[in-house]
Symmetry: C2
Subunit: 410 residues, 2 copies
């Protein structure tokens, strides 16, 4: 098995050697003497767990900066939807590859996706050796044929590697009806897949749901139709009642906080005191690029922490350590990936960061610097499942990928 030996690297303020064998952290110790296929000098560098981006629409990178600062409906109807309708599978493939370059450069090794043309996305992920769970997405109005084809795809999908899974992704309660939600929940259960949906993103969604469903909130409604369990991943969850938080916690649902998108689209501030009180499972996600406008989990951590503090008038709320856990190990855990921390026996996902970067000096507290000060310039090397995806800031084939993305005229 292929081995990588990282020498003299800082791990939680201890200087250690780290041996990666195959896809696993085999040994972490002082002074490991072994003949390895590759040796990385960790002097003046730190090793840190990478990000697990738990909600995005990766290929929307093609729409980065295509319409901002507009009223929501104008933006969607005049800019986003007409352009999305034109995207071919080849465009999606090129957009996903661009997204993956951006994610690697900002330290992300896994993303949970929800978009169209899942086969094109899967092709990009396979090529680039990141981890992903690719949503097979359902919207009622796209018609029965597509829904049947998608279900058929799910029932017959065989992943080409351990890095890739698919998820069953009913878009939201305003685009998917009760019967289809229940059918898809069954499909997810039968195939042991995650059930991935938007939930309580806007006040309008909550209001419309209450009016249509006997005053039930979106969470109460989904619970009443039996589609919330520990495999459910709910994006946004901005507008929650106490009862909602209690339900989401007791069902073991994973909540995904997307602070940048929620701020940019003026959806609202995630209720951190409430999810803390009910000990909900929380992760972080970037959402799609057109409402962010990047895929940086580093920025997402800082936005989450600062938005919580100002929204709830509490400087101690959502500490750097807590939001770092949301962005890393909580995502891995929710997906059942044996990673998210740098420990012997864990899958070898990690970042090597440059402690000589101005943004990490002085180094009173690396996690504080990481959450509040760093940016993607601090990241030198990215390893996923024992594969080096970026080494000394170089990603193989990056130039070709970026050139293709540039030429994908929309």
């Amino acid at each position: 098995m292929k081995t990588i030996l990282i020498k003299n690297i800082s791990l939680k303020n201890r200087i250690v050697d780290i041996l990666i064998e195959g896809n696993t952290f085999k040994q972490i110790d002082q002074n490991i003497i072994v003949k390895a296929d590759k040796i990385i000098d960790g002097t003046n560098k730190a090793i840190i767990q990478p990000f697990y981006n738990m909600h995005t629409h990766s290929s929307m990178t093609l729409l980065r900066g295509y319409g901002d600062d507009m009223r929501l409906f104008e933006w969607l109807s005049e800019y986003i939807w007409p352009q999305e309708a034109k995207l071919t599978p080849e465009d999606i493939y090129n957009g996903t590859r661009l997204a993956i370059v951006e994610m690697i450069r900002s330290g992300t090794v896994f993303f949970l996706d929800m978009y169209w043309h899942h086969e094109a996305i899967i092709r990009a992920v396979e090529e680039m050796k990141v981890r992903a769970s690719i949503g097979v997405t359902f919207i009622e109005e796209r018609g029965k044929t597509e829904i049947e084809e998608n279900i058929n795809f799910i029932n017959n999908f065989k992943p080409s590697s351990d890095l890739i899974t698919i998820n069953v992704a009913p878009h939201a309660i305003y685009t998917v009806g009760k019967d289809l939600y229940q059918e898809l929940f069954k499909v997810a259960k039968e195939n042991n897949l995650k059930f991935n949906t938007h939930l309580s993103e806007t006040i309008k969604e909550v209001k419309d749901c209450r009016e249509a469903n006997n005053n039930l909130t979106p969470t109460e409604y989904l619970d009443s139709i039996g589609v919330l369990d520990h495999n459910t991943i709910a994006a946004h969850c901005v507008h929650l009642t106490e009862h909602d938080a209690e339900i989401l916690s007791s069902r073991g649902v994973t909540l995904v906080h997307n602070p940048c998108a929620n701020m940019k689209l003026a959806s609202g501030a995630f209720n951190v005191p409430l999810v803390n009180k009910y000990e909900c499972k929380v992760c972080l996600g970037t959402d799609g690029t057109s409402s962010n406008n990047n895929l940086s989990m580093m920025e997402e951590m800082k936005f989450a922490a600062l938005l919580a503090k100002v929204s709830y008038n509490d400087t101690a709320l959502l500490s750097a350590n807590q939001v770092f856990a949301w962005a890393t190990k909580n995502g891995a855990k929710a997906m059942g990936i044996n990673s998210g921390s740098i420990k012997e026996g864990k899958l070898a996902d990690c970042l090597i960061v440059d402690l000589n970067s101005d943004r990490l000096i002085p180094n009173h507290n690396l996690i504080s610097n990481w959450v509040y000060s760093a940016d993607s310039r601090c990241i030198e090397t990215v390893i996923c499942n024992g594969n080096i995806l970026m080494e000394d800031r170089i990603i193989p084939n990056e130039a070709e990928i970026l050139e293709k993305a540039k030429r994908t005229i929309i």
Copy 2:
């Protein structure tokens, strides 16, 4: 005079050549044929105006990550104040040089500072050839001797270059009394200097001021003692009434918005609709590193825009173009520096950014990408007053500066 010719660079979507002669943009045109001392190839790059950071305490970089996520008083009294008391002029010099490296890397060529040991800060600025206005800072309780020495320093200061000015900086209404405010305002006027103060940062400040001053707000109070005019620069201004905004606008005061610090310290959200309504002069600043925790004006722009949208439930509020103006030309204008845009006759301050960066692809709208997507990795070259401060991501002497800062144990 020294000349720099930048060939084939994108300026507002046009490809041009740009000739810098001495410290000035001499010519901007297609196909400039001239023998220059230095030629920069601008292919696949864009030129953009740099940032003017209008409120910071630069040498506090030494306290980056030294205590976060705490209640304000605990943080100040147990962490920040005891450490600040220990800082020597040599520490301040080293901290300022670290800050300037960080600012250059994130595209800032000017900062308005307020801190102690102004002579050490001036020394660092002189060496590193950025623009700065260095505050000579006043707090009543530091005693008469220091106040007199500072006033004496101001009255006798001769800048060593056009890049450097000083400003008169009474800290805030809760640390400086009426008589000293008025005396300092006179000193500023006599020396034609900016008058730099914190204003209306927290609810407590407003409440205490109203109680002590016949229900006057901090703005009304400072106006009543006659210290607000077009040379006044007021940092934070988080809690303003309509009447405050009217006063600040009519007096021509420059307001400095510091979104990250205001969020991290849970001070509140700057009232963008109000300052827009009264057409106040607004700039951006990062505040000190210990309450941010970096000096990136790029992050500050995104935080400002997204905080405004979510706080006032308006996706169209504070567009990328508006916040970009706050971060660039508004600062230059407030300081009377003939820069802040890339035009013939303006002082040659600019950034060269890499249009092949993943974060700037696709390039539907460079300003949108710059505000919402970019980070410091996109910046290749920084020019200030015709001097190249960073070229192809290399800052001369950076390693030595960072090493010294690392060794400045606090």
